[in-house]
């Protein structure tokens, strides 16, 4: 290498490090693992959970290799988060500089100059907020996902052996709610009917407060969802009539009020890929009713803690935009969403209730004749997407995500074999076709919705950091240290 080449290399390095607000993640060491281990392990971590349940027993990674990868993921997360925090700070500093300049010059600016500064402020605000959301939510969620999958690769083979042993010994029949052949005849928690009044009161209050979203009016969609929920209800431990409402909101959720009031949101119907996935979610919600979790929650939670939680969630609703209305009301009235974003762990109650609803939900879906893996597959899909969308992670709630996945899979393995379990049906596809019309209409109405957040007229569109929920995290923090994002 001659002198000029050396100089060029030094200069390029210097330039690369002096760019303000870089995404330049430090090049991570390949976890101290040889490529023949590192590469397949990385590839495995990008597979869906349900596929890993099948693959994990055949993978041969040592404990030390897994530990090295875990440390590598932790370090990569820190580097990636740090770089985006720095980026947000840099955009914030630049934003304040332009705002101060606007304030100082305001009397002397002509219209064009003012417009230009407004455009600049708008762009910086967008970039600052995108960087912050990525640093605080999307990046941690993506890495936690990888870590949960690593845990699955590490622990599942042993867990599976134990499960098989339990099945062989008959010990699995002794598990709590293991009497699945008696579903509908067993008594989980007596007194479901006592919850009806609470549920009615909650519905009334929601309506009075003007917080009940509009219902889907399409009769075919309503009829399908109601009939599917009723079918599952009949094959569950439900003792109260099920009142099903389909809400016309794009949120991916469903929630149940005590006493059998089930609310399914349009976003959920759009997000599920087949009938077994939808059945799994509805069964999970019905399980919250049969387990009388709302009633138990109200007993345990003090009024102060509920109010505190409500305020916390309201803040999330504010910052998260289209965040979860159901969550807010869950806290007010003690009913549940999918448990995806609920931070009820602060009350110390969500862990057992969610695990119980997962277990019972899987049983109810199976008992109705649906493939119980549908619930797992939907869970898997949402792990990356919903965690990002709502700005909250499953991983920050209890029980840990891995535990929920494994417990659900465990229950599925414990269930007696059934032939002809349904994954999909023509009715589901017909509902999806009808739903497209509902969605199109809702999107059309959304376009007509006035907005105070419309960009300043005449400005170029604010820059975007290209990252979609579910994208591999390397899009943001590639291992080479280069970013594909456009919004520097």
């Amino acid at each position: 290498m001659n002198r000029n080449q050396i100089l060029a290399v030094l200069l390029s390095e210097l330039l690369a490090f002096s760019v303000p607000g870089p995404v330049r993640a430090q090049k991570p060491a390949a976890a101290g693992l040889p490529p023949e281990v590192y590469e397949p392990l990385q590839q495995s971590l990008q597979k869906p959970y349900w596929e890993l349940f099948e693959l994990a027993p055949g993978l041969e990674f040592s404990h030390s290799q897994i530990e090295a990868m875990r440390k590598h993921l932790e370090k990569s997360k820190e580097t990636c988060v740090r770089s985006y925090k720095k980026r947000a700070e840099d955009h914030g500093k630049e934003l304040r500089r332009v705002q101060d300049s606007l304030k100082a010059k305001t009397g002397r600016l002509n219209d064009d100059e003012r417009k230009q500064m407004h455009c600049q402020i708008q762009n910086l605000r967008a970039l600052e907020s995108q960087s912050r959301v990525l640093a605080e939510h999307a990046i941690p969620v993506a890495y936690e996902n990888r870590k949960a999958k690593l845990e699955l690769i590490e622990k599942w083979p042993e867990d599976l052996k134990r499960i098989k042993a339990e099945i062989a010994s008959g010990a699995s029949n002794q598990r709590r709610w293991g009497d699945v052949k008696d579903i509908g005849f067993r008594e989980l928690v007596p007194g479901q009917e006592k919850d009806i009044k609470d549920g009615q009161e909650a519905v009334r209050q929601m309506k009075m407060a003007g917080l009940m979203p509009p219902e889907v009016e399409n009769p075919a969609v309503r009829k399908y969802v109601t009939s599917l929920a009723q079918r599952i209800g009949k094959h569950s431990d439900l003792r109260v009539p099920l009142q099903v409402t389909v809400l016309n909101t794009k949120e991916i959720n469903a929630f149940a009020l005590p006493g059998g009031f089930l609310f399914v949101q349009r976003g959920l119907l759009e997000a599920v890929d087949n009938e077994s996935q939808l059945a799994g979610v509805l069964a999970h919600e019905i399980a919250h009713v049969t387990g009388r979790h709302g009633n138990k929650l109200m007993k345990r939670a003090t009024v102060a803690s509920i109010i505190y939680q409500a305020a916390q969630i309201a803040a999330v609703i504010l910052t998260g935009g289209a965040a979860t209305l159901g969550t807010y009301y869950a806290l007010q009235y003690g009913f549940y969403g999918l448990g995806l974003v609920l931070s009820l762990d602060m009350l110390g109650v969500s862990r057992e209730f969610e695990l119980e609803a997962d277990q019972l939900g899987v049983q109810y879906a199976w008992n109705t004749g649906f493939d119980p893996n549908g619930f797992l597959k939907f869970f898997d899909k949402m792990a990356t997407r919903e965690g990002y969308v709502n700005g909250l992670s499953w991983f920050r709630t209890h029980p840990p995500f891995y535990e929920r996945m494994v417990q659900s899979k465990r229950e599925i393995l414990f269930l007696p074999h059934k032939d002809g379990l349904i994954e999909n049906s023509p009715e589901f596809d017909q509902m999806k076709a009808e739903l497209k019309k509902v969605t199109a209409q809702a999107e059309e109405e959304e376009k007509e919705r006035p907005s105070l957040l419309a960009p300043v007229q005449g400005c170029p569109a604010p820059q975007k950091i290209e990252y979609k929920p579910g994208d591999p995290i390397e899009v943001l923090c590639p291992e080479s240290g280069e970013s594909k994002s456009t919004g520097r």
Binding site: Q99, A209, G210, I317, L318, L452
Partner: protein, 306 residues
């Protein structure tokens, strides 16, 4: 310059002038004017076109009475600063009372301000979101009350939207470090077709402490109130300064009643976009037994054509 050349130039200029005059529209498109008609404390409804006369810059203008646009776009602009601490209770009461009185079916949004404007809830028809959001605001972070900036910025955003726009300002009217001046805001409200109603905060406290206020503080408060009154008067709305807590309910209901009794006039404006203020006058009257009975009209003072 030869005579012929001068004639040619003169002709060319004349032709240019004629062309530009011909191209200049006689009207500037349809304008929508919202107003209420009152007699004493009573809102008067049921009047027809023949009960009104409209003047623009003193000249009578033809118009027609039209159905008010629906749904309304209602934005609550709420002061939320550390400096508002002493009357934050008033502000909260005003927000709650207004949302309780507000009818379903309209678009509602919530914006708060201290140092700068924050859009807390974009337009929604689920009006409960406004209170839910307001309830979760937490402690105000900034101590500034940049009311002029907040009003200016909100009006600028509303300006971009079509339809019937209403701005409900809830705050003291005090202003600390705004980059916009009073004159900027005044020009903006003259240009934007939004009706402003004010639920003033701090009057209760002011009543209690008035005897102890220094001349400077008293002047500042008077200016704050005058600013809020100006917004309402310029836009055809009304400012309320409740002096006891329960009066917020009456004020909120009065605003809602006024919105429900608003008339709408459509007319073609003939003034040029000269960035000057053009005065409007609207007369409302009733002829009964050959006697004319005049009503008072709450209507915007005029337009600044931009």
């Amino acid at each position: 310059m030869s005579r012929i050349r001068r004639i040619k130039i003169h002709r060319a200029l004349t032709a240019l002038l004629l062309c530009s005059l011909a191209a200049w529209p006689q009207t500037l498109g349809q304008r929508s004017l919202y107003f209420t008609v009152e007699q004493g404390d009573k809102l008067i409804g049921g009047l027809t076109e023949k009960n009104f006369r409209l003047y623009e810059d003193g000249q009578p203008v033809p118009f027609k009475l039209a159905e008010p646009e629906s749904p309304l776009l209602i934005t609550l602009l709420v002061e939320y600063s550390q400096a508002s601490g002493l009357y934050l209770n008033d502000i909260e009461t005003a927000v709650r009372e207004f949302m309780d009185a507000a009818p379903e079916g309209n678009w509602y949004s919530l914006a708060t301000f201290s140092q700068e404007l924050q859009i807390d809830v974009d337009f929604t028809k689920q009006k409960g979101e406004i209170l839910a959001s307001y309830g979760g605001l937490g402690q105000p972070f900034w101590g500034e009350v940049n009311t002029y900036d907040a009003v200016f910025d909100t009006l600028e955003k509303l300006e971009l939207l079509p339809g019937r726009k209403v701005l409900i300002v809830i705050g003291s009217g005090l202003n600390t470090l705004s980059s916009h001046t009073l004159s900027d805001v005044q020009k903006k409200i003259e240009a934007v077709g939004a009706t402003v109603f004010v639920l003033g905060a701090g009057s209760l406290l002011r009543g209690q402490y008035d005897p102890y206020l220094g001349a400077g503080a008293r002047m500042e408060l008077t200016q704050a109130e005058a600013f809020l009154n100006m917004l309402a008067k310029k836009s055809g709305g009304q400012a309320f300064f409740p002096r006891f807590e329960t009066a917020y309910r009456d004020a909120a209901r009065a605003v809602v009643a006024m919105l429900q009794h608003q008339y709408r006039i459509l007319y073609e404006s003939r003034v040029r976009p000269d960035n000057k203020f053009h005065r409007l006058k609207l007369e409302a009257f009733e002829i009964s037994d050959d006697k004319r009975r005049d009503f008072s009209v709450r209507v915007r003072e005029g337009w600044r054509w931009q």
